[in-house]
């Protein structure tokens, strides 16, 4: 009964001061909207990165020399194809092992050229990494064994070099050496900041001959099962360390990559949310301020209510509700605004944004809590007013 009256009065008070209520809410709206939007961008980025890492293929184990840590300089690889054979023996299945030796090179066809990444790979690559062809065929074991000068072009490379011709069967010069195009990849897009359509696959043996080297940069293994992937990594690292005692090797899984990236993105999202949280706090201070004004304005009304039997608590609840209403209405509006902006950003800009239910629940909860926290002092002040003094107020 008394609570219903408190609701009615609180709503009435907001309605009586529409502009003031709206401006006060605006502070909360901006705060909540920015929290929702920035968390959405953080979450969207994280999801996109996860998708890209997952998109590399499942149960992947990447073996590289050196230690995988942010800020570590790359190490010149001592690995050769013999090490790849050794890894194959550890794994027990050569089809699950891929290698790469990569370098930037100019690809030329007729009078068109494109600076791209040339990757020397084994024929196992499409099985290890998720990669599909749009046209032609991929490299075969024979291509690799005989260092045949054949190439599979990324989608972007094919478009650049052969805008109006079928590239299959055409010649392309890589670093001045002619290769024959046997296939074109299906478009894949960006992955972790690398344009995966801007690369050319050639047999690793041909690539090594091209650059006059025996090295391979890294070895990738598709583990037979997820459970023992870490153990397999340890065995591979042990084997490689035995073969190259002076070099440190790392075997990382997608989960570990995701973990590292997730930590970085989590910190980023946290910082963004904290900045947005500050604006929510400022909005809360605005609510507190306006509530003090409201209490002062309605001092006589408070006095009268007390005279006819309102207890301190009745008055306090009434003002607390008013504050909570301000922030929750502001919160809901801010959520709608934040969601709308996030959807717009996701649709119209390259920045990914994903709405999660917990960010909405959090934003709403926080705005309600802000109302309580910043409304409690003015409400208590109202509840404790001396009725005699209040009735005399102007």
């Amino acid at each position: 009964m008394r609570l219903a009256e408190a609701w009615r009065v609180a709503l009435d008070a907001l309605r009586a001061n529409r502009l003031r209520s709206a401006l006060t809410m605006l502070g909360v709206i901006i705060g909540v909207a920015s929290v929702v939007l920035l968390v959405a961008i953080g979450t969207g980025t994280k999801q996109k990165v996860e998708q890209q890492v997952e998109g590399l293929g499942s149960n992947l184990l990447l073996v590289v020399p050196g230690r995988i840590e942010v800020g570590n300089a790359p190490v010149v690889s001592p690995l050769t194809l013999k090490d790849a054979d050794a890894v194959s023996r550890v794994v027990g299945d050569p089809d699950r092992v891929a290698v790469t030796v990569a370098s930037g090179a100019t690809a030329r066809a007729g009078n068109r050229s494109d600076f791209t990444t040339v990757q020397g790979v084994l024929e196992t690559t499409p099985a290890v990494f998720t990669r599909s062809l749009a046209r032609g065929r991929y490299l075969t074991g024979t291509d690799v064994d005989t260092s045949r000068r054949v190439a599979v072009l990324g989608d972007a490379v094919a478009r650049t070099l052969f805008p109006d011709r079928d590239p299959l069967g055409q010649q392309v010069a890589l670093a001045g050496v002619r290769f024959r195009v046997i296939g074109v990849f299906a478009p894949l897009g960006q992955s972790l900041g690398v344009d995966r359509d801007d690369e050319v696959h050639v047999p690793v043996t041909a690539a090594q001959r091209l650059w006059g080297t025996q090295r391979v940069d890294g070895i990738a293994v598709k583990a037979p099962d997820r459970e023992r992937i870490e153990e397999l990594g340890e065995r591979i690292v042990a084997e490689l360390t035995r073969r190259h005692p002076d070099t440190e090797f790392s075997a990382v899984t997608q989960q570990q990559i995701l973990g590292v990236l997730g930590d970085i993105l989590g910190v980023l999202t946290g910082v963004l949310a904290a900045i947005a949280g500050i604006s929510l706090l400022v909005g809360g201070v605005g609510v507190s301020n306006i509530m003090l004004v409201s209490v002062r304005e309605r001092t006589r009304e408070i006095g009268l209510r007390k005279a006819v039997g309102a207890r301190p608590r009745d008055i306090g609840v009434q003002f607390l509700l008013e504050a909570v209403l301000l922030t929750t209405i502001g919160g809901i509006t801010g959520m709608a605004l934040g969601v709308g902006t996030a959807l717009l950003v996701d649709a119209l800009s390259p920045i990914p944004a994903a709405i999660t239910w917990w960010s909405l629940a959090l934003a709403f909860g926080v705005s309600a809590v802000v109302g309580i926290v910043f409304g409690v002092v003015p409400a208590q002040r109202a509840g404790r007013l001396d009725p005699v003094v209040a009735l005399r107020a102007e």
């Binding site: 009964m1 039997g309 207890r311």
Partner: protein, 298 residues
């Protein structure tokens, strides 16, 4: 009649304020009794302590000394929420400035005390509407204060004060913001309700003509009661022709002498002698019909 418990009992009540570290004694040992159905005028110059006493009698404030019992409950023993309940159940207030809620209809204004009593909404409206009917505003239920005249607003305030069926109605200068005709009508209404419902009416006023209509007049000065006189012999006809002109069937010099009594004078032997302590007016008045007023104003 005298067996009934008093509505309000004050024994040697004092109230001291602290203003910037200086003690101000607004009340210094006031004792009085208000019986159910009484009609008491509380007069005195400004600063005499009558407003302070009024606030104490209404449970809006607490004494700093003495004993104050309202509706059988000792105020000093009550916490603020209990004081609120006490006010709600026992006291009705009528203020000089009406104190109606703006943007709120007459019937909702009247129903407000019932909200804090926990009465269901429908019943609140029914009771508030009935009460507005009794004060002659049955046709104004949904008017807001700014759509009503001063007299009508004060009637709404009176209805609000009485809707809880209190035992004491405290009216603080209820006609102070009204013109004389409207004021007289409001006063008549209060008196009529006093007679009809038996609610004790305590009227704070500086208007001697108004005060003269009361059954009993308590005069205050410098925080003490200096006279507590009884007009009860006038009482029976007050409803019928209780207009200022016919207030007291006494010598024509009455109004002038009445105005003279305001600032105090210790003379009122009759009132001063017995008045300071809570005596029962009904017992005393029979002894000296017609003596009170001339005595008090000599």
């Amino acid at each position: 009649m005298t067996g009934a418990p008093p509505a309000i009992e004050a024994v040697d009540v004092s109230r001291t304020y602290q203003l910037d570290g200086v003690s101000v004694e607004a009340l210094r040992g006031v004792s009085l009794l208000v019986q159910p159905g009484d009609y008491v005028a509380l007069v005195g110059p400004s600063g005499s302590g009558k407003s302070t006493l009024m606030h104490l009698l209404g449970g809006l404030d607490r004494p700093t000394g003495g004993r104050l019992v309202i509706g059988g409950r000792d105020v000093n023993a009550l916490a603020p929420p209990e004081m609120a309940t006490l006010r709600n159940e026992t006291i009705g207030f009528v203020f000089q400035a009406f104190h109606l809620l703006p943007r709120t209809s007459a019937v909702e204004n009247v129903a407000l005390p019932l909200v804090y009593r926990g009465v269901p909404a429908r019943q609140r409206r029914t009771r508030a509407a009935a009460m507005l009917g009794r004060v002659g505003l049955g046709h104004r239920l949904d008017h807001r204060p700014n759509q009503m005249s001063g007299g009508e607003q004060q009637r709404v305030a009176i209805a609000r004060a009485l809707v809880t069926e209190p035992t004491v109605l405290l009216a603080d200068e209820p006609t102070g913001n009204l013109d004389s005709v409207t004021g007289a009508a409001v006063l008549e209404l209060l008196e009529q309700l006093n007679v009809e419902s038996g609610v004790a009416l305590v009227l704070v006023t500086h208007d001697q003509e108004v005060a003269a209509r009361a059954q009993r007049r308590i005069t205050m000065r410098d925080g003490v009661v200096v006279a507590d006189s009884d007009n009860r012999h006038d009482r029976p006809p007050s409803v019928d022709h209780g207009r200022p002109a016919t207030l007291v069937p006494a010598p024509s010099a009455e109004p002038r002498s009445a105005s003279g009594s305001g600032p105090g004078h210790p003379s009122g032997g009759s009132g001063g002698a017995a008045g300071a302590t809570g005596r029962l007016p009904r017992e005393v008045d029979q002894g000296r019909p017609g003596v009170e007023r001339p005595g008090g104003t000599a």
